[in-house]
Symmetry: C2
């Protein structure tokens, strides 16, 4: 079994060609760049990656290409949670086979008001059907978008049923009290904060790091706090990070991050987004870039 994942992960933005196909070559180069700049690992196919606007085949081809291009699979935690478990099983099985350090598992998110038992069974079906001892599952809790989330009772049941397989989570609830409850209640369960704004608090309670959209644009700064979380000035480092978030938080998150990358790289194709997402207006883009530059 490989070392467990920790540190700073980027849910990698997905560059798109003008016809909105994934720009896989550019994406692989961006993945390598993020690792070079400070990410300890990558979570491709996250919410920020527009993964839920990518089809199963697209994701499978991209993941194969990424590993074939030499990005170490052990540092990857691809998002594999789709609405239909046969699709989730295919993608998670591929990730395990490639040696990915883990998979990030959204619950099925179409049907609402589902029971804890239903969420448990959804995860259990995937684990049983993948049937690969290499599979490591990180559950992905993001009720602000998926609406369906993971309750503490579900986590407890998963840990009892699948010890050593369900090993951690990404919490993007935005609710620190929830994340704190998970950190305090389940020892040995590796909690990544879904936002770098809770990174220091997460580490101080035994969390293992962050999978943060902002790591697409400021990986080195987030990594610096991660590496210096015990330093005297750690709170100041956290405050510095918070300024970047404050500069972007009034804008649609994925469009804003792509805008920053387009500006930085001089490559306007970074502005391409799959519907239902749309680019920022010209005015919002100017405002965002000015605020970001001043952060």
């Amino acid at each position: 079994m490989s070392a467990r994942l920790q540190g700073v992960f980027a849910p990698v933005l997905t560059p798109m060609e003008d016809r909105l196909a994934p720009a896989t070559g550019k994406w692989i180069a961006f993945c390598k760049q993020l690792l070079a700049e400070g990410c300890t690992g990558l979570a491709p196919f996250g919410t920020t990656s527009e993964a839920n606007s990518l089809g199963l085949e697209e994701r499978m081809e991209m993941l194969d290409a990424l590993v074939a291009a030499g990005v170490p699979a052990a540092q990857l935690m691809p998002g594999t949670g789709m609405c239909a478990f046969p699709d989730t099983v295919k993608l998670a099985a591929q990730a395990a086979r490639l040696g990915c350090g883990g998979v990030l598992l959204l619950p099925p998110f179409y049907y609402k008001g589902v029971s804890d038992d239903g969420v448990f069974r959804a995860v259990a079906e995937v684990i049983e059907r993948v049937g690969d001892a290499r599979l490591r599952v990180y559950i992905y809790n993001i009720p602000p978008i998926a609406v369906v989330g993971y309750s503490l009772a579900v986590i407890e049941r998963l840990l009892a049923a699948y010890p050593g397989v369900v090993v951690g989570m990404k919490d993007s609830s935005g609710d620190w009290s929830y994340q704190q409850s998970v950190l305090e209640r389940f020892s040995g369960f590796d909690v990544f904060s879904g936002s770098e704004r809770f990174l220091l608090a997460n580490l101080r309670l035994g969390g293992v790091g962050t999978i943060s959209a902002m790591a697409n644009v400021i990986p080195a700064k987030i990594r610096f706090l991660y590496d210096n979380s015990l330093a005297e000035n750690a709170d100041q480092l956290q405050e510095q990070l918070d300024r970047y978030r404050a500069a972007t938080r009034d804008y649609a998150a994925i469009a804003a991050l792509k805008q920053i990358l387009a500006e930085r790289s001089g490559d306007p194709s970074w502005l391409n987004l799959r519907p239902p997402l749309v680019p920022l207006s010209a005015e919002a883009a100017r405002e965002l870039l000015a605020r970001y530059a001043a952060a």
Copy 2:
């Protein structure tokens, strides 16, 4: 161009084998039975069909099999709206190629808080990429589950951009004032009520019928109201239908309908549901069946 769709459609329940694969043979027989019992058409792969727990390949194979088995494609309005437009395009193109009377199009439903412009572009991309003159799109508005819906402004824009292609909708908002607004504002736009409880009101304002989960269990009764909406006793007929809904509404809808079919057919495999859905408890099942029998 074939006659436009109207009447009573069932979003067909999907029977599953014990290992949760679609029981395609049983499903085809059930589809034929529903048409024989009074449905004017079928909307396979709706919410009630657990379609969002079915993978793309599964849906494509089932649709091919259904038409190959002799169910008239012109009477079909399969659900084709998935999160990722390449998947939606594949399924909608197949439906058009097979000669389906229409496709029922959910908006992409993962990302929340999306703009009208984003929803419009999502539909536009599908229509443009399918690129088949036979395609007829019915938009599917179901914000209680999909969260993302279709505003009046989006409908207006779609009708202006794609006249004769975007031809109608299924409204499962549960919000009669919304449905009334659509009926009053857009003439020649074929509105199906997503619930038979609004069937009479829908027809009286120029709507074309209902695509109703209850049509899986009482197709003849709903059809009778549809055929007699101008009769003196139409309100009483509507009240009769409402009693069946009242008998089931306190239970998880899809589980409840499958419970009724299991009871009626003597085939317990009708109880199989894909996670995150789960069967009713034994106690709830008993209670439901008693209330339904007394309706």
